[in-house]
Symmetry: C2
Subunit: 209 residues, 2 copies
């Protein structure tokens, strides 16, 4: 095994340290966040790998924003009008999703060719091509003292999903959606299911569901 | 597309809603957290899918704990002595990792047969078999008002990793480590790399690295 101390990583250079530390937690979710500036009516789209589950009842999601980052417009729109969308990304448009992270001076929908869609009078735009779309409302904002990153807490209001991916017990097969996953800053991956496992109990063997 | 409202999900039953909402954010990281109760010297091991990147400088990680959950011992140990380890999980021991989530009355290392390892005088135990091990110290604890989940913020102090997985620019190839990813409560997946993409700039085509 190769051994790295914190000091060695910090002296290895900013880019090296950033790539390395970003990979340590493991695979990350990938969502395109759609938002809109209501004053100018300009829509915004940006990829996020820091969206995570907070709770099922009430259905709640968290997103971590860097303090000064390319995703600033997304954060400003959310704080301004309180609504945003999450959209899963598939292999067929992950390069467009990546391109939406550039510092465009116009809507990333227009710039990347990803078509926007409006559902059920929700204000923020969805990504038409996405197989799983979530309408969210802003619930809370917490600034983390450690490095000024901003944790946005959102409620999950509505979901649109390819029906064949929803199993009888509510489980969503991300394989059937074609959802991809990201590692580090720029690496994209498809995933293949090993198994679902039964609820673990002491001294009972683990079985596949 | 199938459409679900929040109300429909909450009336679909607790298990259905839990499975569904847990899957919405997408693929999640999987880490075994090793900790120790210093008074009794009992070690603890539990799988977590809520470990995420917070920042590279200082190297910082976040973990979300449910308020009343099977992972309570892990949280108590971390709050008691301030240290814990993160350990990636591979296909060769993901069933043991899952089994460590059961409510054992003894150390999950002993119960599951996953061997503990001590490195560089760090107090908390590592998982010997893991291809990526991180030593962390407690930095902060935030209780989220929305549902009383607890966000633990840790500093990354030391890393041990299979050397062939570290690329020249600091990127860690999770494929080469064999790291797996989880979705929902109980579904495990291996991932296959599509590509790393170059830093996105307006009006420049996205290229593979």
């Amino acid at each position: 095994m190769k051994h790295f101390t914190k000091e060695a990583l910090l002296t290895a250079g900013t880019a090296y340290n950033k790539n390395f530390i970003n990979c340590l937690s493991g695979y990350k979710s990938l969502n395109l966040i759609g938002s809109i500036n209501e004053e100018s009516s300009e829509t915004n789209l940006a990829p996020f790998s820091q969206v995570f589950h907070i709770g099922a009842n009430p259905p709640t999601v968290g997103i971590l924003f860097r303090p000064h980052s390319v995703e600033r417009h997304t954060l400003e729109n959310i704080l301004q009008n309180g609504n945003f969308t999450l959209n899963h990304v598939t292999e067929s448009f992950y390069k467009e999703a990546h391109l939406s992270s550039a510092r465009w001076e116009r809507s990333e929908f227009e710039a990347t060719g990803l078509k926007e869609e409006y559902l059920n009078n929700f204000i923020a735009p969805f990504v038409e091509k996405s197989p799983l779309k979530v309408a969210c409302l802003l619930k809370d904002k917490i600034t983390l003292a450690v490095n000024e990153t901003v944790l946005i807490i959102g409620s999950i209001e509505e979901v649109w999903i390819k029906p064949q991916a929803v199993e009888e017990d509510g489980f969503i097969s991300l394989d059937k959606l074609g959802t991809i996953t990201v590692s580090g800053l720029d690496s994209y991956h498809i995933a293949n299911k090993l198994a679902r496992l039964t609820y673990a109990k002491p001294d009972k063997p683990v079985k596949e569901l």
